[in-house]
């Protein structure tokens, strides 16, 4: 198994970042926060991940908190609050 996680972006985040999906290496004992920090440190537009607008998190298609530990192969999704229905 690779030592990476897949990160997906939806809706406004997908548009702002002009990215719907990327692979990111993770360190041992990495969490969702580490992934967000690593991406935000790339500067604009990636700093939107630590900006004023709330970012929701799902890990392996289940809602998760920033403190959730990640394993290689996990699917992390970052998106704005949902607005369906």
């Amino acid at each position: 198994m690779s030592d990476t996680v897949t990160v997906k972006f939806f809706a406004r985040l997908r548009e702002t970042l002009q990215t719907d999906e990327l692979e990111l290496p993770i360190s041992t004992q990495g969490t969702v926060s580490d992934v967000i920090e690593s991406l935000a440190s790339r500067g604009a537009p990636w700093d939107v991940l630590q900006g004023d607008q709330p970012v929701m998190i799902a890990v392996n298609q289940t809602m998760a908190r920033p403190t959730q530990p990640l394993s290689p192969g996990d699917e992390v999704a970052l998106f704005p609050p949902v607005t369906g229905g």
Partner: protein, 150 residues
């Protein structure tokens, strides 16, 4: 039955599919339509995006919660994605039960919960050709919270 689809659906057909067992006394349905006044005025269409896979499993989970909480016999949830013009149907939730109280409660719970927990995002396209992502409403969060049990 849970469907995420681009195609339209027929409410009569969906409702008939819920009943007819002879045990069903009550069918409550909800249909959401694209309306001209959303976050802004003069909406002419919506664009709906979703998270394939997660959307279905979140809705499955909501249906399981509804079945644990109320006595219901059948549930159908259809949510459309892609571009939908003014007046088009967006979402359908139908619940069949022996009794109307259960059918109404489960139907309203599913709609309220779907609004705040299923990964769909709406973009409004206005008549001037502009578009913007819809913001989540505090009133929707409040409605969903009202169903939380102690």
């Amino acid at each position: 039955m849970i469907r995420i689809q681009t195609e339209d659906f027929d409410i009569g057909e969906q409702t008939r599919a819920l009943g007819g067992t002879g045990d069903t006394g009550a069918i409550a349905t909800f249909t959401g339509l694209v309306r001209t006044r959303g976050d802004r005025q003069d909406v002419r269409a919506l664009f709906l995006e979703h998270y394939p896979g997660m959307t279905e499993s979140v809705i499955e989970d909501l249906v399981t919660q509804a079945r644990e909480r109320w006595s219901i016999q059948a549930v159908r949830v259809i949510h459309r994605v892609g571009e939908l013009a003014l007046g088009e149907q967006i979402v359908f939730v139908g619940v069949a039960s022996a009794h109307r109280g259960d059918a109404f409660a489960a139907c309203e719970f599913l709609m309220d919960a779907l609004k705040t927990s299923a990964p769909f995002w709406k973009k409004e396209i206005t008549v001037d050709g502009e578009s913007h992502w819809v913001e989540q409403k505090a009133s929707d969060r409040d409605k969903a919270k009202n169903w939380q049990q102690d």
